[in-house]
């Protein structure tokens, strides 16, 4: 009967029935919403209404939940902490309060909920007569987000693994190339001596030259193997630096003297005070100076000078090696200190790409730093090592 009456009611009827009809329609609409749990709570937190969404999300039918206290949706921990009352209090205070957290379904399983509680009042000053609670189940979204995070982490791990693999390949390519060259020299020089002897062409001069070549190739091979061993020791935490009072200028002069024997007169220039003491491992410092001078010689023309300077800066000591060579390209400034990293313009020079890496590691172990810059007054580069002065108390 009612349906019929409703149906015949004219569209432009009085406002009272139309308002009523609006409320009915709204209630039906809310009841039919399935993606959101929308229900009313009394001021004491008891459940007054229920919709399809609430049934779907929380698992209770309307007749088994209406009249119950809404705290049963909360986890025991949250109930213990008084969270349900706290949220109602906040909603009463601010008019509206939003929360995200774990809630319980009827079957005891948990879901991740996004909750908005809105206080309903007769007027602005009165206490709420009810609360509207709208809950969304974000479990899937949360799982998706977590999956996304896991995927991203996996992706990062994969990229890191690929980079490590690429670095290893680069190492193998460079190491094998660099190791094969002195082996080729050794082999060829040896066979050339034997062949010359077989043909009766082996005089003293040739024998000496040949043996010297073999000696140089063995030295080179020994150096390369030493570098590789240093790197593997560095990778495993060592080698231990024994810091003792060390006189840097003597180390520098010693290294310069070793190189000067094979270089044109005056190519290697040393500028240093009489003595500068610091706490350092002398053998390791020797290695750093050797690597820097070797680099400076290698990447510059055969007669271009290389300057080694020691500067006393009070609390710190500075060692500077300046060349007039190919310089350091800005884009590869950081890479040159990495293991097997080489400047873009340095690819075809002999070497394995470990000298600067080893030097950087040694300097870091002394609490110092190493930088590369271009010369400001012309072609070439400047490598600056800064070491703290302190001599360990013993």
């Amino acid at each position: 009967m009612n349906e019929q009456n409703d149906a015949v009611e004219p569209a432009a009827a009085t406002s009272e029935p139309s308002l009523l009809r609006g409320e009915v329609a709204f209630r039906l609409l809310v009841e039919a919403v399935v993606d959101y749990a929308i229900f009313l709570l009394g001021p004491d937190g008891r459940i007054l209404t229920w919709n399809l969404g609430a049934q779907r999300i929380k698992g209770y039918a309307a007749d088994e939940i209406i009249g119950q206290h809404f705290s049963r949706f909360y986890t025991p921990e949250d109930r213990e902490a008084g969270r349900p009352q706290f949220l109602l209090g906040r909603a009463a205070e601010y008019g509206r309060f939003e929360d995200e957290g774990w809630r319980l379904r009827k079957d005891g399983t948990r879901f991740w909920a996004d909750v908005v509680i809105t206080a309903l009042r007769e007027d602005a000053d009165s206490r709420p007569y009810a609360f509207v609670k709208i809950t969304r189940d974000l479990t899937e979204r949360r799982a998706a987000e977590e999956q996304q995070r896991n995927l991203a982490a996996e992706q990062r791990a994969r990229v890191a693994a690929e980079e490590a693999l690429a670095a290893r390949d680069r190492f193998l390519a460079i190491a094998s190339h660099e190791l094969k060259t002195p082996v080729a020299s050794l082999q060829l020089a040896t066979e050339a001596l034997l062949r010359a002897r077989d043909r009766g062409r082996l005089d003293d001069a040739r024998l000496v030259t040949g043996l010297q070549r073999i000696g140089r190739a063995s030295d080179r091979l020994g150096e390369l193997i030493g570098e590789l061993l240093d790197v593997s020791r560095l990778a495993s935490g060592g080698p231990a630096t024994r810091r003792q009072p060390t006189e840097l200028c003597a180390v520098v002069r010693e290294v310069a003297g070793r190189f000067a024997d094979h270089e044109p007169d005056g190519r290697i220039r040393v500028s240093a005070p009489a003595e500068v003491w610091l706490g350092a491992d002398a053998a390791r410092l020797d290695q750093v100076v050797t690597n820097l001078v070797d680099n400076a010689l290698k990447y510059s023309g055969e007669t271009e000078p290389v300057d080694i300077e020691v500067i006393d800066r009070g609390g710190a000591v500075e060692l500077r090696v300046t060349d007039r060579g190919i310089g350091v390209e800005a884009s590869t400034k950081d890479r040159i200190f990495e293991a097997f990293g080489r400047g873009a313009n340095a690819e075809h020079y002999r070497g394995i790409g470990l000298g600067l890496y080893i030097s950087q590691q040694i300097v870091a172990r002394h609490g110092g730093r190493i930088d590369a810059t271009d010369r400001t007054d012309g072609r070439g580069s400047v490598f600056t090592v800064t070491l703290p002065r302190e001599v360990p108390a013993e």
């Binding site: 094998s176 060259t181 060829l188």
Partner: protein, 126 residues
């Protein structure tokens, strides 16, 4: 080239290999010159035409690829055979790219390089 000794240019940055190869090729009766990089090799080619270029791939200042590009562009020693010596991987592809007639991977035996040089200069003579 009939009547004269085969001419071999050795382009190699490793001093020991270079000097030893020059010595050995000389013993074989070849006329040998040497350069430590592509740039120096190009300078030599301007006034001297070898029958064979023994070429290292990776050298400072100018590597083998750039050397070959400029050699071709300049029409220098266009008929010379090319033998690559290198410790790099995938030499076959490199030889292909560079237009080389043969290649030997470092380290190589002395006899291998003597034989390869003989074969290439004889091919050139035939």
């Amino acid at each position: 080239m009939s009547g004269r000794a085969p001419r071999v240019l050795v382009v190699e940055d490793d001093e020991i290999l270079r000097d030893t190869l020059v010595e050995v090729m000389g013993d074989e009766g070849h006329e040998v010159r040497a350069a430590s990089n592509g740039e120096a090799a190009l300078e030599l080619l301007a006034a001297w035409e070898p029958d064979l270029i023994v070429l290292d791939l990776m050298m400072p200042l100018m590597d083998a690829y750039e050397f070959r590009r400029r050699q071709r562009a300049g029409g220098l020693a266009g008929d010379a055979r090319v033998l690559i010596l290198s410790a790099a991987r995938d030499l076959e592809a490199a030889a292909d790219r560079i237009g080389a007639d043969a290649w030997l991977a470092k380290p190589f035996r002395l006899l291998e390089v003597i034989e390869a040089v003989d074969r290439l200069v004889n091919e050139r003579a035939a």
